[in-house]
Amino acid sequence: MLKNSLILILILGFAAIMLSLFLSYTPSEDLKGVSKHYAEYGKEEVGAANLVSAVVVTYRGFDTLGEVTILFLTASVIGFFLKVNHSKDDENTAVKKYSEILGTSAKILIPLMVLLGVYVFINGHLTPGGGFQGGAIIASAFVLMFIALPQRKISHKVLSAVESFSGLSYVLIGVLGIILAAGFLDNQILSLGTFGSVLSAGAIPLIYILIGLKVGTELTGIISNLKELQNEQ
């Protein structure tokens, strides 16, 4: 078949490029350029023990703002696509049964999962983790709730209020950086504190809390839109 052989030729061509890239790869020995600057001065300039967080939130904070915007756009486009009428929700959800084990264990697990998510984003500047990871953990707690306790409702108004509040505060903190510190999203609007403690690294914990709330509510919104569509059918 012509189509299959074309695919084969394309794959082989790509494989040849990849192979030559792989064979010519020489591992680098030292940090170079901008990474070296981040490693040498990150402690004094940003004060975050987790250098990846320092890069994500402060050095390249503008990228992260764009990333949050992309996630927001995704959530709103999905909400637009899956427009459902909320009037006849109640009668459909009552029919769904869940197993007793799942329901009981979910009641214990959901608060713990939310707590873990909060822990992950509050300690984002000290340990591996951060706003996105913590937000994803919180959203997974809500997914468990949707599966195990289908009669519980999540108010879309609360979700979108939390989401808009955290997004707006994130931008406001960035603008405060222009006024009080060196530039947009500079974290030195608050004092850097002692290196390695929870209240350190200036605005990074604050920004990560906002990102965590925003990502958590956005992902929960996507899931609950999908669930309502399923209920409607």
């Binding site: 790509f14 790869y25 490693a39 992260t64 992309i70 899956l82 290196f195 996507i222 999908l226």
Partner: protein
Amino acid sequence: MEKIGIEQISLAFGFIILMLGLWGILSRKNIIKIVLSFTLFDTGLNIIIVAIGYLKNKTAPILDSAELQTDTASKIVDPLPQALVLTSIVIGLGVTSLLLVYALKLYKEKKSLFINDYKDLKW
């Protein structure tokens, strides 16, 4: 080539996963499988970027011990590719969820996930 280290192994795995994803995008007929192939492609690319940032005998860029806090630049791996991959993972998540919702919409429209049933943009 001298001794094969973890960076070569992860680089090779990244390339293989990326090629699998590309093959899946080009040859699969089921829309869900095509979406899965896109995520494979993403994952392979992320593994490659992280593998390139790896430096031999160095540790994670998290300065939680006093020993790491002096002369940091000679002791840690590159933090920049990891930060970029974090961004890339989140954007990949957004793209995947959008693709899946498109697939859902298409299925509701025609009750089929077979890509050959959709000829609307073919001529």
